[in-house]
């Protein structure tokens, strides 16, 4: 459970949250579906 974020890496990590936030703005669920899948997939990225 160590590590740190570089700004560009953080930008990648923020993408799912941005998609979910976008869904709240545009009142559509497709960004939510992509965003939650992306968040879960990214969370496993350290095991590649």
């Amino acid at each position: 459970m160590t590590g740190s974020f570089a700004p560009r890496a953080l930008a990648v990590w923020m993408a799912p949250a941005a998609l979910v936030a976008l869904a709240l703005v545009v009142h559509a669920l497709w960004p939510v579906a992509i965003g939650i899948g992306l968040a879960a997939g990214l969370s496993l990225s350290g095991s590649v």
Binding site: M1, T2, G3, S4, F5, A6, R8, A9, L10, V12, W13, P16, A17, V20, A23, L24, L29, W30, V32, A33, I34, G35, I36, G37, L38, A39, A40, G41, L42, S43, L44, S45, G46, S47, V48
Partner: protein, 187 residues
């Protein structure tokens, strides 16, 4: 890593494309199966399904990152993807390796977010289109590190920073919370 360090070659792009195709296919297989099984929760209302989602997410967080760690184990395949996967060459092997990684069920699961995601597909009752988009996001997320590695500049440092971030407790918890928030929107 699938890609050796050093100068990038055209073959590397084919490896990454094959890996991405595999992760997308594997994630789609899991998502469709979970979507089919979600029919069993049809009799339950949105409130009950939301409560199950929140309770399940809290439990998974507690097991993976919280006070239940080392006391309870969530189901996961505690093994590495075998080297035999690459027996027919790097590009076909990358596809198969990606498929196994994309299913989310064939190797270690160090984060609680994928558990929340599968619970979402089972309990939130998304449409088939939404389930397929969830799979696309998951497959893409699993392939991002290799895609980053193809960047011509600073690929080593950027990949290292990204992968270190993946082990960060804050990142794991934030990812799971994003999944839970999104799941509650889908219910």
């Amino acid at each position: 890593m699938l890609l050796p360090s050093g100068k990038r070659h055209g073959r590397d792009r084919r490896v990454v494309a094959a890996y991405l195709g595999g992760t997308l296919a594997g994630a789609t297989a899991t998502a469709v199966l979970a979507w089919l099984l979600s029919g069993f929760v049809a009799p339950f209302g949105a409130t009950a399904r939301s409560a199950v989602l929140v309770a399940g997410a809290l439990f998974a967080w507690g097991v993976k990152h919280g006070p239940l760690a080392d006391r309870v184990q969530l189901p996961e395949a505690r093994r590495q993807i075998p080297l035999e996967t690459f027996g027919r060459g790097l590009v076909p092997g990358a596809w198969k390796f990606g498929f196994e990684m994309g299913t989310g069920m064939r190797t270690y699961v160090p984060s609680f977010a994928p558990y929340v995601l599968i619970l979402t597909l089972l309990v939130a009752r998304p449409t088939l289109g939404q389930a397929l988009l969830v799979a696309a996001g998951f497959g893409l997320g699993r392939a991002v590190p290799l895609m980053i590695y193809l960047r011509p500049e600073e690929r080593l440092s950027l990949t290292r920073d990204f992968l270190q971030g993946a082990d960060h407790r804050f990142a794991q918890t934030a990812a799971g919370l994003v999944v839970l928030l999104g799941a509650l929107l889908l219910v």
